[in-house]
Symmetry: C2
Subunit: 141 residues, 2 copies
Amino acid sequence: MNAIEEKCKLKGVRLTDQRKIIAQVMSDSKQKYGTKDHPDVDELHKRVTEVDDKISIATVYRTVKLFEESGIVEKHDFKGGKARYEQSPDEHHDHLIDINSGEIIEFVDKDIEKLQDQVAKKLGYKLVDHKLELYGTKIKK
Amino acid sequence: MNAIEEKCKLKGVRLTDQRKIIAQVMSDSKQKYGTKDHPDVDELHKRVTEVDDKISIATVYRTVKLFEESGIVEKHDFKGGKARYEQSPDEHHDHLIDINSGEIIEFVDKDIEKLQDQVAKKLGYKLVDHKLELYGTKIKK
DNA sequence: ATACTTGCAAAAGATTTGCCGCATG
DNA sequence: CATGCGGCAAATCTTTTGCAAGTAT
């Protein structure tokens, strides 16, 4: 059983055949597709229909939303207009997006995180969430 | 003449009556509406039609896009689905969004900026752009 | 039985575009 | 005159939803 199914069980999210397939595809996106990708709904639908071509795109939308509300997957609104998803990571990370290739590199920087907390506090706020996206071009060596 | 009109002239963007009104409304958003707001297209249209009720929402869309492509205004995709705009600031800043009130606080943190550059470089990238949004709740004292 | 799921198609919300008359250089 | 601009409505794109039928508990 993949990690997403595990979490569904844990959170009491019912696992139907369709949801299992979507869970599998999202889990696979780490292993199968080179650099871990962050597929949008269209891409997910394409992949799940390779397993079962009866699954409608509405179900994919409903399922990612359900998973997101249960904290099982994360939604990102990178530039481009379509929401993109990834399995919720064990520990938070941010993203650097290659503006030429679209490739996404994940990174963690504890110092930045700490500074964010401090900035929020200084402004009189408790930090609840944050979004950090870096956009860059590859340096040729 | 307001700052947006100035920039249009500088960049050779033709100033029609409609564009002047939109430029004025965007410039005013700093002064007139309490905390500087970052209005979406609907809100802009509402304000613009108070001056000239013939202006269509398509024109507002076309104009903010034009202004954005000329670097005169900045577009933000905060949570909420609709793009929001602000006059391009003289110096870059990031945003803290109050998740209860929707209020937006602008801030600059040079240390965070520096770290972002370093992170990108370490990953083999030249930083071209970035987006940092903090979401928080007000601390009561 | 009862409540939840799904597929389909229609609806909704944000944004863009084609067309055609109008304005501006 | 020639090119660009704006208004309107229709089109597009992503996402959501109503409904009726199917599935799981």
